[in-house]
Amino acid sequence: MFFKIEPTSGQPLYLQLMQQIRHAVESGALREGEQLPGIRTLAQELVVSPNTIAKAYSELEHEGLLELRQGSGAFISLSRRARSLSNHIQAATRSVSDLVEQLRERDFRDEEIRRMFEAVLLHQPEMTRKR
């Protein structure tokens, strides 16, 4: 599995890693029971602090997408909750791609689209809610 971290993208690195692992599971690149690299190994490979990896793994464990086994590493585990969440995310991702496609057809560049999303998200801050 290949991950790519962008230190200057304005998003915490552990969130970037979480998204990429989630995406890998959704796209089938990572399957149930498969093992992720150890914290130290992945930190050295991505040249990031081990705390970044540890935080991403522990948050994903919380979401039920990963199972951390003492001494033997992190494994993909698709609990029912994670699976339904993953379907949910897949559906939402499709709506977003449709919208992006429409905007591209209207000749907006990706950079402009990205900034529009960011401006809207900033202007209408998310209500605190539990998923």
Partner: protein, 297 residues
């Protein structure tokens, strides 16, 4: 340790005659993290590090490192056996060979790891029989790093550890720092390599003219700092945008550029009040945050 902190200082200061090198510094460094200590040349970084190690006496304030008072000379000596330190000028004995230098250093530390020493010697390609005097700047740095990394200390303090290293050397250094942090060592290092710092640091401290001007986790900086570029039909006065969280406002023609350390949504709302034609919110690199923090007023 005080509150589980590895380094804790309270109003730490150092004056040389009338010159205040470090002023009322409150540092609080968490364990098992990588903390980068940034600042321009002469900002007081090395002076701070030397006070932390008990090598120079503070003029005011005090602090603890690994739970021991830095102003107490006896505790200071004990402390230096628990910390591995790489100094700014990589203090070495010029008349010794690399091999003699390593054997000499090894004798002082009970936490020395011969296997690690051998591994680092191979990795750094250090010539054992060369005199220290004839080493290049990069080689001197590597020898200094080897003598710190061959130990297993609780705390690693590095003053400009990448000095003189080529890109491959810097990459090796980062990998070793990551490995040590994975082993549970706390890493505190000063650097001018902002791009590298931005990858591996958990926490950023910026010192400017002896004062701490920023102390934040990099994740918080990434999440909260934004540059908002605006275009207006007619440009509003800058003071309307000097609201909470705003660090800097600049205007040029119909354009305005706002740097916000937080509250970017407040700036966006204000821009809409003034009927902005275009609102563009972009993340800010650590380099820009650094330059803003050390700007001379």
């Amino acid at each position: 340790m005080t509150n589980g902190r590895v380094i804790e200082t309270e109003r730490l200061g150092k004056s040389y005659g009338r010159i205040e090198a470090v002023k009322e510094l409150n540092l609080s460094i968490r364990p098992h993290c990588i903390t980068a200590f940034l600042g321009l040349n002469g900002a007081g970084k090395s002076t701070t590090i030397k006070m932390l190690l008990g090598m120079i006496r503070p003029s005011s304030g005090d602090g603890t490192v690994l739970g021991q008072r830095i102003s107490n000379p006896i505790e200071g000596v004990r402390l230096r056996t628990q910390i591995a330190y790489v100094s700014e000028n990589k203090r070495l004995y010029d008349y010794m060979t690399v091999d003699q230098m390593i054997r000499f250093t090894r004798a002082f530390y009970s936490d020395w790891r011969p296997d690690e020493e051998q591994k680092l010697l191979r990795q750094f390609r250090l010539p054992l029989d060369r005199k220290v005097k004839s080493l290049s700047k990069g080689m001197r740095t590597k020898l200094g790093l080897l003598m710190a990394f061959a130990r297993r200390p609780e705390l690693l303090i590095l003053d400009e550890p990448s000095e003189g290293l080529d890109p491959v050397g810097i990459e090796e250094l980062l990998e070793i720092l990551i490995a040590r942090c994975s082993d549970g060592t706390t890493v505190f290092f000063s650097s001018h390599q902002i791009a590298e710092v931005e990858r591996i640091a958990d926490q950023i401290c910026i010192l400017h003219a002896g004062r701490l001007v920023l102390d934040s986790s990099l994740d918080d900086l990434r999440q909260s700092y934004r540059r908002i570029n605006l275009v207006f039909p007619s440009i509003p006065a800058e003071h309307h945008f000097r609201i909470a969280g705003v660090q800097d406002v600049r205007t040029r023609g119909h354009q305005m550029s706002v740097l916000a350390s937080s509250n970017a949504e407040g700036v966006v709302a204000r821009a809409q009040d003034f009927h902005a034609d275009s609102i563009d919110v972009a993340p800010v690199e650590l380099r820009d945050i650094f330059l803003e923090k050390v700007k001379e007023d």
